[in-house]
């Protein structure tokens, strides 16, 4: 049992705000965690993140166990100190990479598979570098191709060395294209691993159980009941979320009623605007998503309504020639320091000349956009107008 307290503040339907107390501070929920995959939120400094008001970050066990490795980070005083971040931090277990470097490559899919998107199983993203059995996950390092092994015990030991505030159990994240039979077998293994992780966990870090089961109601329910029966500090919903947004909503509707009210619910790896609204409405408290910084590196800047809509995915493509002489800020309705100080034309120029500053400025703005959105969501829940702002955003 880790150091964790979660108090619900307000409720608006199933949506809720709360205060999550972790060993390094308090997190107002619902919140989206910027992703510091390799011990840095890409293109942003910890000063930037503090200035942005980021409350909590999530880092990646798979990457950090390979480079620089957990012992190095332990010797240097833990991951928070390593990356100069003194606020709450989560580490994932490495389980998601067993998917993204395995099925994710072979099936060329993400956590949701949209059949209407151009897609072909005959064009995998690459060969799986993962082998999985009941003992754990064997994989190759993406850094030096060395053989690596991650078991439930080992994932916990590594995460203890990294010393984040919250850690995740090792799980298998199945693919939206996995069969029901495979998903059911995988779920048995994931459940065993969850129990094992809880048993071997010894520190004062909070530990999070993960619900799996793909997009099948009975499997999701079975998983939620089992994981909720174990004494985790918090719960996460992971894995394949089906073949449509509807499937994802179903998964939440099936799972959340079985999770305890007084523990946070983290929807792993999800975080674009409409998904956040639909999930918060169903009772999700925590999100993490690489999208704001990944989009920035592709030259996309977030824009709020009315310029941002579901249809344009709340973003503009800055590298487009139409912004070459545009004096306006990235988003005329944004109050961040980037929008106060720089024009689209300047940032277009930085992208054109491949100047590193461009990625920093757009990343800052995009993370501000998400943090601001989460604040507005919390305010709306606290004042009972969640449906109103949801409608304003999802135009």
């Amino acid at each position: 049992m880790g150091l964790l307290e979660f108090n619900i503040k307000s409720e608006d339907g199933k949506a809720r705000t709360g205060l999550l107390k972790l060993k390094r501070g308090v997190v107002n929920t619902p919140e989206l965690m910027p992703v510091a995959t390799k011990a840095t939120v890409k293109a942003l400094s910890s000063d930037d993140l503090n200035e942005l008001g980021a409350q909590i970050l999530i880092s990646n066990t798979y990457h950090l166990m390979l480079q620089p490795n957990a012992d190095v980070i332990f010797e240097l005083g833990g991951l928070n100190k390593f990356m100069n971040w003194d606020k709450p931090l989560v580490t994932d277990s490495g389980g998601f990479q067993a998917f993204s470097l395995g099925f994710g490559k072979e099936h060329a899919v993400g956590k949701i598979f949209f059949p209407d998107e151009s897609h072909s199983l005959s064009k995998p993203r690459g060969k799986s570098i993962v082998h999985l059995n009941d003992k754990g996950i064997r994989f190759r390092s993406i850094y030096d191709n060395s053989r690596q092994f991650l078991s439930p015990e080992k994932s916990i030991r590594i995460q203890e060395k990294l010393d984040a505030d919250m850690i995740l159990v090792l799980d298998e994240c199945t693919s939206p294209l996995s069969s029901k039979k495979y998903t059911a077998e995988s779920l048995e293994r994931t459940n065993k691993w969850a129990k094992k992780c809880l048993e071997v966990h010894k520190t004062n870090q909070a530990i999070i159980g993960i619900v799996q089961g793909g997009h099948w109601e009975d499997l999701r329910e079975k998983s939620a009941r089992y994981i909720a029966s174990l004494d985790f500090d918090s719960y996460a919903i992971g894995g394949s979320l089906g073949k449509s947004k509807k499937d994802m909503h179903n998964v939440l509707d099936w799972v959340i009623p079985h999770l305890p009210e007084n523990k946070t619910r983290h929807l792993l790896g999800i975080g674009v605007v409409e998904d956040i609204f639909e999930s918060v409405e169903r009772g999700v408290d925590l999100f993490d998503c690489v999208s704001p910084t990944r989009m920035a590196r592709s030259g996309f800047a977030h824009v709020r309504p009315p310029n941002g809509t579901k249809k344009n995915k709340y973003r503009i493509k800055l590298s487009s020639i139409k912004y070459r002489t545009d004096k306006k800020p990235l988003d005329p309705n944004c109050k961040c320091k980037i929008c106060n100080n720089y024009s689209r034309a300047y940032i277009h120029h930085l992208l054109k000349t491949e100047e590193l500053l461009g990625f920093n400025l757009i990343s800052f703005h995009n993370v501000y956009f998400m943090i601001q959105l989460m604040k507005e969501i919390r305010d709306a829940i606290d004042t009972g107008v969640y449906q109103k702002i949801k409608k304003e955003w999802l135009i």
Copy 2:
């Protein structure tokens, strides 16, 4: 005649401190300008530069006339506004690129040619993309290979549109490997261009004349006398500085006595530690150099004495495996925020994983190092201990 005033504050031998008043503010000299080649000091934001206490930057006409181009920047309110820098700014004339993309490529040399370094004229860095005659410089764009032409008039018109505080005349920067005959012919042309630039210059920007003449005493003296006879607001020493540090010192000794006492002297494109000390001692007030940020992108961090010495070029190579677990800051004797907050091990990790943050952190530290050095030099001159600190640094 531009808006410029220069008042000498203290003298220590020929070294001097002064206050340079430009339309956007006052610059304490001697000072080194960080280089914002393409309207950004690489990997640093204008917030970073303000926090670092940078007093003045220099940008590059050649690059900006091609991308985004001078009219775009003019429409957007000038270069300072474009890059969100409200303090003093210089633009060069584009002349240096006529060298770096011409002789610089063919001769594979910089401003000083050290014959002891491994070098072969049979291995040019590339083919010259520059053709030069009395009217101006024809060259190809490095962006789209389009034909471009830069004349003295055109360089001034472009720099007026960019609207920096100080602008430079168009000159030809010869190579350390150019013959005396060629250098003498080139000097005639450069002198004509200087006069032309002064004649066509109409704004309230300060305008800087450039002394050329390679590493020949008579040519340098001739150039200095002529340029000093024209009514420039400030003077710069450009071009080839010979085949050794001694040659560079000679050039300064030949030129500076012919320049007016009450105008600033800018040694163009120079700025490593020992060159700064030797040049300040000879009466130079201004420097610009890409080295701090370029080194950062190659993973080199500046270190002060006693760790930094002439021999190790005041730097350590952070990507070296020996820093993998090093808890120390980049420079244990540095007080910058990077050294206060991050270990060598962390920054080594960022380089290893090619995270953009690494370049930002080292660039910040390296520019801090240079700005701090210049402050110490000014303090030493003001208190009459210049020789003492020079000795302490040049160990």
